[in-house]
Symmetry: C2
Subunit: 738 residues, 2 copies
């Protein structure tokens, strides 16, 4: 996601705010390029290696050129056959050496790109996961019979079930346990709301068009692809040129439309499909636009995030919470982004489910009463400084990260800890997950701190949860636009004396001096911060006159002593009125689920050893179906027991599936392992049955009437499979396994 | 919702299908006008009453006119004072009689419109409910700080919780218990899908515009308002005129644009706000339109229903189900309708949550294995014939309704029964709920049968669930448009001999005779149904030539004997390939929730008797918060017990709220009664606490460590409050109650 910036104008600070705000929100759907391929930080050794190899290659090439000249000269001058042969041999030796350096470079490049594992094996792994997901209908390309629409996917039955389990757990873990106020707002949003938030003006990507066919491309994608291709495949690239291309990849998100356009021209990049010339880059707004009501005069958009629905309700929610801070509101819902050309399958889509929390807190007190519950947690963190100095993510204790100031405050730290617990309980591998702090240039100037939960997948490190201390920005933006005060009060138990800055513009003098511009000058004077105002006071007293920059006029004006009075006064106050800060954990549910699929997938040989079987090792909490029921043989008695079991499982709220097909038990296990079903009940007697656990393939015998409650206890997390193993006799019948 | 129909063209059957289909789907959001006000059926006695009163009124008026004339004549002819006085007295007596008839008429009208209760008391009740809902943030007009958008509402914290409870129970009751395949498809939908379903062409309402200001109105709403106003307030209306207006109200949905326009002209209806003249009615498509991707050449819409997402996935879902019928797919999600001018608050909105089931079944076997589970249920049903013959809805036993053929088939009956159980378990009053069968003119010609679950509210009878046997229409429409066969197979255990109709157009002859039209004629011949084809065969054999209507040409052509061969042949078949029928229960979640609010709301006097307190009597299943925890007095020991309780409730998954404000217990109870919280735990000792039930105000004493499990059992439906009363000692302390 990219934004056009207006760096040189006075409007900068506003734009910068808006831009950076979007940057934060948008970045949720964008893998952090710097950290996943061609890292500017991280694998420094590999970079050095690549560099020296490119230099060696260039040297070898020039040796070859020289030696080639020698051979030609010997030949043309009719030198002795033996001399010529010796020279050719030397040339061939040089070529062999060059080939060897090239293959070393190839290995080095693959290593740098993949952090070790080969690109081919990662692609093969992803293909295996995606094939299984699609074949078993975890997802389906939407409107497939009409040849689909890029960036839109359906959740098929097991996928839908996983999603609804993830969302239920999210509600339990965040909304219920933290007593959050959940709301549910519409997707259709009138323009005024998204003007206030800045989306109408700035929620854009830069686009180029094929000048002949009109096909659209993301400008940064084309430049990125060009640089990657060159770096990976062009061995004649000089070390200097390679460094330049890598630099472009690192700063790609910061390039302006002009800079992007210039690079595209410089490198002669054309439309990928037709090789036609491309237009200059221009911004394309990523919101789906529509019109509300029949008149056509009320533009609206499909919301690009759910957060705005909470911000506009702040006043009511604060009241609902008894006018007390802190409190958190939460929302789960669809969000929409009309991507220019969606790539990366399920990771970049045009419609997706977000789960967002807005935790409102007094900016003067960001402590959290439950922080001690998470302070002892240790996990991979990747602070800003470590990224810049080229280190790797490392294990930190959360409590220490907060007390040392690495994480800005307790509340932000508390949410980082809660997100860690949420993701690991879902089944995300803690060793392939890290919390990465935003770099200074990624973060809005108003933001206090920002951390992304990134999960490693075959696509690299993927941002799945953004946790940002957004300060008072959002509430202020809507306060200004709506003229409704979105503020909180702290009532003092007794009145306090407060020193207050008082700026009194002298309207008459200002009117005489500035006429039509008086209002703008007056407002700019009133808006001065304490430091600026006190400097002006001192200057006016010493010099009688001072230059003053008025943003809204875009120029300096001269302020004289008689035009403004500046002083500090002691006032008694009974309460403090302030705009709360907001700490926002924002979850891309589809991305988390996709990463969960990759982390849960493995293969193991079938018993006969003739094929590899797929398994999803979902924890019971997220498994789409909790257990299957198989009668061992087709037999009325067993089928009746199966039906009885099914009834008791339904009553216990356990999703399950009966499989009475005649296939072998082994095949039936394989089928359900591939759906990630954790438990299989084989009916092989009318009194007790065999319960088999998916990953260990351990089997125990349990009485028919106890089975439902045993399965329920394990799926509800009240006991573990280890507990079950202790309670019930192990079963090792060969008949029941593959 | 209205549709422009093309009744006289050959395309009729297609349009009719499409129209009626939409009619069915759309009607979900439209209260059945005929049944809720100015009923053409139903309260026949009231109608007769009104009729004779209007006639009496007209007679009385003409007597008054005559007597008035007499008085004038007496006065002008200078008659005796006594004679004049007597005549005036007679005139006044007539006027009094007229006034008395007028007030009788007023009562009769109110009775007919409200089914007994007065319109004023219904409005007052609704206002009380809506005020409470809005004050306690069950809902919030969306984007309120920007003055909102008509037809868009947020669910605030308690409303969001009720909604999520209703949806969870829906999943448990339908998806889990019936083993349905749940899917989750995007809201953004490409045009081709909605062209196939007919929405692009026909999903319209008729709109008129104020010719000067451009303000838009629904044409039928203006005509309806005019008729209602006249009928309610114009006592000079003749019985004939009244009958005419009532007829219009009854057939309002069937009027064409031309007919509506003519009536608007005839009655001189103008724009309500400005009295300006109105444009002719024209169709306005109710879908929110947008554009997919950056090029602007791929139109898309926000889906108007979730059903299409299931239909387009039929092939994959059938495969997922092991290529077996019957099976059901389900989807919960947002749907969008860009209403011209939303009215009726939460009942007609522009974005809403639908929960839809598509149950696919062999058209030759619509029996249901679990029908006996619901056959004994008895509830209010309103069959077509009873509506037409002016009876009321009456209690029927579902099993009998199916066996007598009132309900078309067992599967449809099964779903009617399951919907009844669903709604009553949510807390809908079974005596204010009925299943109304669609009249012939409401139903698509292809539909086998259609029943709406209607719930009575202060707005009248509201359609909340539609249950339709839609036959094979939807799958066929998508098969045709996508050229992907959406069919099922029945494999025969041994091959069957089948007599098959074989129609062989002789292309050469047809080409000679029809040239460019040959293809259309050929296709029409091939599409003949058996009866038509056999008649043609007979006619061709007897007459050698026959007139044949070709729909796609819009005219008759002459078919000669040498142009087509028609015969019946015996073929061996190994399987039967057919398009499944679909039975579709479709739930308007927001409407159900609104009706539930009305059915759950009551007031009772406070203990002091000085005010009326609001209560929502939600069953624990749907209550937004299951219990509250109050320390009786502000005291560290009690607050610690409260915190302990809170922990154990959270662990048990029970949503709850601690209230440690210093207010009286009575006030705290009132506050939570108004949120519909079923249980309150008052901490008045460190060992055992008081648990109070909301509606009975009964209190029992329960040990601290048992409380969480007692509350969980009742809220999970494993035990009832009556069970709790038997188990635990009743508590009658005055201190704890208001």
């Amino acid at each position: 996601m990219r934004f056009v910036r207006a760096l040189n104008t006075c409007a900068f600070s506003l734009h910068r705010r808006v831009i950076s705000k979007h940057f934060l929100h948008c970045s949720l759907l964008k893998p952090y390029i710097g950290a996943h391929q061609f890292s500017v930080y991280g694998t420094m050794a590999a970079v050095a290696d690549e560099d020296s190899l490119r230099r060696a290659l260039a040297q070898k090439q020039s040796s070859i050129d020289v030696q080639g000249g020698t051979v030609r000269q010997l030949k043309s001058s009719g030198a002795a056959k033996l001399d010529i042969e010796a020279a050719v041999q030397a040339l061939n030796a040089l070529k062999l050496e060059k080939a060897s350096i090239e293959s070393q470079l190839q290995v080095a490049l693959a290593g740098a790109a993949d952090g070790g594992s080969s690109s081919a094996s990662r692609d093969a792994f992803r293909q295996a996961v995606v094939n299984t997901l699609e074949r078993r209908l975890f997802y389906i390309p939407s409107f497939k019979i009409y040849r689909g629409v890029a960036g839109l996917y359906d959740y098929g039955p097991p996928g839908c079930s996983v999603k609804s389990n993830v969302l239920s757990f999210w509600r339990q873990h965040f909304v219920l346990e933290e007593n959050m106020l959940e709301v549910d707002c519409p997707c259709v949003t009138p323009e005024v709301v998204l003007k206030a938030s800045g989306h109408v003006e700035k929620f854009t990507d830069l686009m180029v068009k094929d000048e002949k066919t009109g096909t659209c491309y993301r400008a940064d994608h084309l430049l990125k692809d060009f640089c990657k291709e060159k770096l990976e495949k062009d061995f004649s690239l000089s070390a200097e040129k390679a460094a330049e291309l890598k630099h472009i990849l690192a700063v790609l998100d910061d390039l302006s439309a002009e800079q992007l356009g210039a690079k595209i021209k410089e490198y002669g990049i054309t439309a990928p499909d037709t090789k036609n010339p491309l237009s200059d880059p221009y911004p394309f707004n990523l919101m789906f636009q529509t019109s509300i009501g029949p008149s056509g005069v009320s533009p609206g958009y499909m919301r690009p995030e759910t957060a705005q629905g909470i911000f506009v309700n702040f006043r009511d929610l604060y009241y609902y919470n008894g006018n007390k801070l802190p409190f958190a509101a939460a929302q789960i819902g669809q969000a929409f982004r009309n991507e220019i050309s969606p790539r990366q399958g399920l990771l970049r889509v045009r419609e997706f489910t977000l789960a967002e929390i807005e935790h409102f807190v007094d900016p003067q007190d960001k402590s959290h009463p439950k922080f001690s519950d998470v302070a002892k947690l240790e996990f991979l963190m990747f602070p800003r400084d470590d990224q810049v100095s080229g280190q790797c993510a490392k294990k930190l204790q959360l409590g220490e990260a907060v007390s040392r100031g690495t994480v800005n405050n307790e509340t932000l730290g508390y949410f980082i800890g809660r997100v860690y617990l949420f993701l690991t309980r879902l089944g995300i591998d803690k060793d392939r997950m890290r919390f990465r702090q935003h770099l200074a240039n990624e973060m809005a100037h108003y933001a206090a701190d920002c951390w992304d939960a990134e999960i490693e997948s075959s696509y690299g490190w993927i941002e799945c949860v953004g946790i940002a201390d957004r300060s008072a920005y959002d509430l202020r933006a809507h306060s200004e636009k709506s003229s409704v005060a979105l503020v909180a009060q702290e009532k003092f138990s007794e009145p306090r004396e407060v020193e207050k800055l008082v700026i009194t513009p002298i309207k008459k003098e200002l009117g005489l001096a500035f006429k039509g511009n008086q209002k703008m000058v007056t407002e700019a004077l009133e808006a001065m911060e304490e430091k600026v105002a006190m400097e002006m006071k001192a200057d006016l007293e010493s010099k009688g006159e001072v230059e003053f920059h008025v943003c809204t006029l875009g120029k300096n004006v001269s302020i004289k002593k008689n035009m403004v009075s500046i002083s500090k006064e002691i006032k008694k106050e009974h309460q403090r009125v302030f705009t709360p800060s907001v700490i926002e954990p924002s979850f891309g549910i589809g991305r988390i689920i996709y990463c969960l699929y990759e982390h849960s997938f493995y293969t193991r040989p079938s018993k006969a050893g003739d094929e590899q079987l797929n398994v999803f090792s979902f924890p019971p909490l997220v498994a789409p179906i909790k257990c299957t029921v198989f009668p061992l043989v087709q037999n009325q008695k067993y089928e009746e027991v199966a039906k009885l079991l099914s009834k008791s499982l339904t009553a216990a709220g356990i999703s399950h599936k009966i499989d009475i097909t005649g296939t072998s038990i082994g095949k039936r296990y394989a089928r359900t392992d591939e759906l990630g079903v954790p438990f299989a009940i084989t009916v092989d007697s009318t009194l007790s049955v065999t319960v088999r656990e998916r990953d260990s393939k351990d089997q125990v015998r349990v009485d028919v009437e106890k089975v439902a409650s045993v399965v329920r206890e394990v799926t509800d997390g009240l006991s573990s499979w280890a507990d079950v193993l202790k309670m019930y006799p192990l079963h090792s019948s060969e008949t029941a396994e593959e």
